[in-house]
């Protein structure tokens, strides 16, 4: 584990100082002795300029919008670019990590922060490793590598679970928020326990003045409090009326982090989140500082009443489902940790919009299409509960890919409670690289689409056309993709949005 977070911010990282020393000691130095500071500035300026040029070219030729490549270029030229640029953010940075809810929580927090009159610097959805953070900082900087100090700039970075130590080392955050820890892409992240250990080490290395924001409904997240040197802000759901009757099959952290006994639950929310207590050693969910006292969800949005340190906040979100109430709660808790006012929280949540593939809605050929990204059992179970809560028979397109970003192992679909859909579907189309695996899983769950068996069409464009035509005009088509499938299907929908039912003419 690298030692990170020096107690006072310094402009030069150790790697860079060593490089400078080497340069200064060599006779072939391009720069006169005594100009070490200039070398770092030159290097940073070169890194930022090259990255900005890369981004411009990438955008010009539509090479994927330039989310990560500029960051990669910047890091190659100046490995300390994140450290140097983030040190210029005059209001510091917040990191958001966890298995599920990172993107939406960051988006909601961005909305709150803007309402508070600050200017957020944030990485794009899904680009949450080092290069994504570097790209966001480069984008915020001028061509000469400076971030304007006239504006109140706050970094809001969603960070991959396994990359947290590296990013925390580089940006020295004011606050780190942990949403939850579920089994996810075991082939990539390793075991849940491994991630918990990485987080624990990262928390213990934070600056003493950094605040740790924790979802105490998750036992393994709540346990991080004991590793924190600084302030801890705890959040949780108090309104248990939307919870599940019992632990889901895929519940992971059902064992006490202190003594290993099986935890008891006074209320289960979803996955292993809830009001937990160890019957053996008495280790229990701590009282939250920020909580959701009332949560109601409908077809188009939900309503939350949140208790913050200063008082209550009532807000309406354009997002549905219990998991999004948790995201709103997380964003509010982070805002509280940053000392932002209740009015900003309320306005920020009210004015928020759905993000990249997260209940994002598009209107295609008279059908309302909603993209519900789902990457792991806990997340997909929440999506299924949200869709079925509606009451009406749903039209579904489920896309399962097994690319590296999805996780190569598709066995997780057997941990998802697809049985929730039984008798609640109007049409079901499955697609993606592993469409047949998904079709078989749905067969086991007793799901038939429109009286016939589930329709299998591995090719996404064909599947989308088929699913749209199976959806009655004026109804909602729920598209449930894994990550890379979401990118594909979103692209298709964006091109088709606003057009008529063109698939019928083809």
């Amino acid at each position: 584990m690298p030692r990170f977070l020096a107690s006072t911010p310094v402009p030069l990282g150790p790697a860079q100082r060593a490089r400078n020393d080497r340069l200064l000691n060599s006779s072939s130095s391009l720069v006169a002795p005594g100009c070490s500071y200039n070398i770092s500035v030159i290097q940073r300026t070169a890194a930022v300029a090259a990255a900005k040029a890369t981004a411009a070219v990438s955008r010009r030729f539509r090479l994927g919008g330039g989310t990560a490549l500029p960051g990669l270029v910047a890091e190659r030229i100046d490995p300390d670019v994140i450290q140097e640029l983030s040190a210029q953010l005059n209001l510091g940075s917040v990191i958001i990590t966890g298995t599920n809810g990172k993107t939406t929580t960051a988006r909601l927090l961005r909305s709150i922060v803007k309402e508070a009159g600050l200017k957020p610097v944030a990485n794009r959805a899904g680009s949450n490793m080092m290069r994504g953070i570097a790209a966001a900082l480069v984008d915020a900087a001028s061509w000469s590598g400076d971030i304007a100090s006239a504006e109140r700039r706050l970094g809001i970075f969603e960070v991959d679970e396994a990359t947290l130590p590296l990013v925390a080392n580089a940006v020295r955050p004011r606050a780190v928020l942990f949403t939850n820890l579920f089994r996810d892409q075991l082939d990539r992240y390793g075991e849940v326990e491994t991630v918990a250990a990485v987080w624990r080490a990262a928390v213990s290395e934070l600056l003493a003045e950094a605040t740790v924001v924790l979802n105490v409904d998750d036992p393994s997240v709540a346990a991080l409090a004991s590793a924190a040197e600084g302030r801890v802000v705890k959040y949780g759901m108090e309104d248990t009326s939307s919870g599940a009757a019992k632990l889901e099959h895929a519940a992971d952290a059902r064992w006490c982090t202190a003594c290993g006994s099986e935890l008891g639950y006074a209320a289960v929310m979803y996955g292993h989140l809830g009001h937990w207590r160890c019957p053996k050693c008495g280790n229990a969910r701590p009282e939250p500082d920020v909580f959701c006292g009332l949560f109601q969800t409908g077809a188009n949005g939900s309503h939350v009443t949140l208790k913050l340190p200063g008082g209550l906040v009532e807000a309406s979100l354009p997002l549905t489902g219990l998991y999004n109430a948790y995201n709103a709660l997380a964003a509010a808790a982070a805002a509280a940790a940053l000392g932002l006012g209740r009015a900003a929280v309320q306005r920020g949540l009210n004015s928020a919009t759905a993000g990249f593939g997260r209940q994002e809605r598009m209107f295609v050929g008279g059908r309302d299409v909603q993209i519900m990204l789902a990457k792991n059992p806990a997340g997909l179970n929440q999506v299924l509960r949200t869709i079925t809560a509606n009451g009406s028979e749903a039209d579904l397109l489920v896309l399962l890919n097994d690319n590296i970003a999805d996780g190569r192992d598709v066995s997780w679909i057997w941990d998802v409670d697809f049985e929730l859909l039984e008798g609640k579907t109007h049409s079901v189309t499955v697609s993606g690289v592993r469409a047949w695996d998904m079709a078989l899983r749905l067969k086991y769950a007793g799901i038939d689409g429109g009286g016939a068996t589930t329709h299998v069409e591995p090719e996404p464009a064909q599947a989308l056309k088929r699913a749209l035509s199976a959806t009655p005009e004026g109804s909602t088509l729920y598209v449930i993709p894994t990550y890379t499938a979401m990118l594909e299907v979103r692209d298709l929908l964006a091109r088709w949005a606003g057009r008529g039912a063109f698939w019928e003419a083809e």
Binding site: D402, R408, S411, W414, R434, Y444
Partner: protein, 250 residues
Amino acid sequence: MKGLALRVAHLFPKLMNIYGDRGNILCLQRRCQARGIAFEVDGLELGDPLKAKDYDLVFVGGAQDREQRLVAEDLVKVKAKPLREAVKRNVAVLAVCGGYQLMGRFYRTAEGEELPGSKVLDLHTIHPGAQAQRFIGNIVVEWNGTTVVGFENHGGRTFLGDGIQPLGRVVAGFGNNGEDGGEGAVYRNVFGTYLHGSLLPKNPKFADHVIETALRRRHKDFRLSEIDDALEDAAHAAAVRQATRRSIIR
């Protein structure tokens, strides 16, 4: 088929369920019920005794390290003896991934610690260290004139003793140890394998073989009737295509 029942002991369903192992139980249940065979399953957790004569089949899945350690202790202390007794009496066993490793003589961890196994199978597993390559990916195995397909994810290398055969030969993937081309193990009516995915749903022939083996102990020459496996066969074929394509690129 009146009165016929498959009685299954599912070892540690709460602790050993990491890679969609529920699918294996759902598959056994579905394929039995499709033939009018009653399906009974008992989940046995830590400390629960195993009365082997009550069962036709014992199933154990995979787990994370922490859980596997707890399970290993319980197996040695509580369940290993009745399990070995059951195997002698031809009770069928299906052990997947971590469960497979625990059937052996010992498991040497990445740190060099030796955890005793239940000694049901003459094999042992050695993790060559945290820096060694983990065997992760789609895998196809040639078995009984056909194929078995799934996903493997293990750091340990398993080596079989003399009196025990591999379940099949690796067509694509790593298998037991990435060296000898063998995958899994068969001994009497015990099947051990690294394949999950889940294993049984998209390998209907292998699933039926396990069910028949389990039922033949009490019902000699028992044969399962044919059922509609069109979707299962399509899923199998697609998974084989995916596994063999990926392995060429790798």
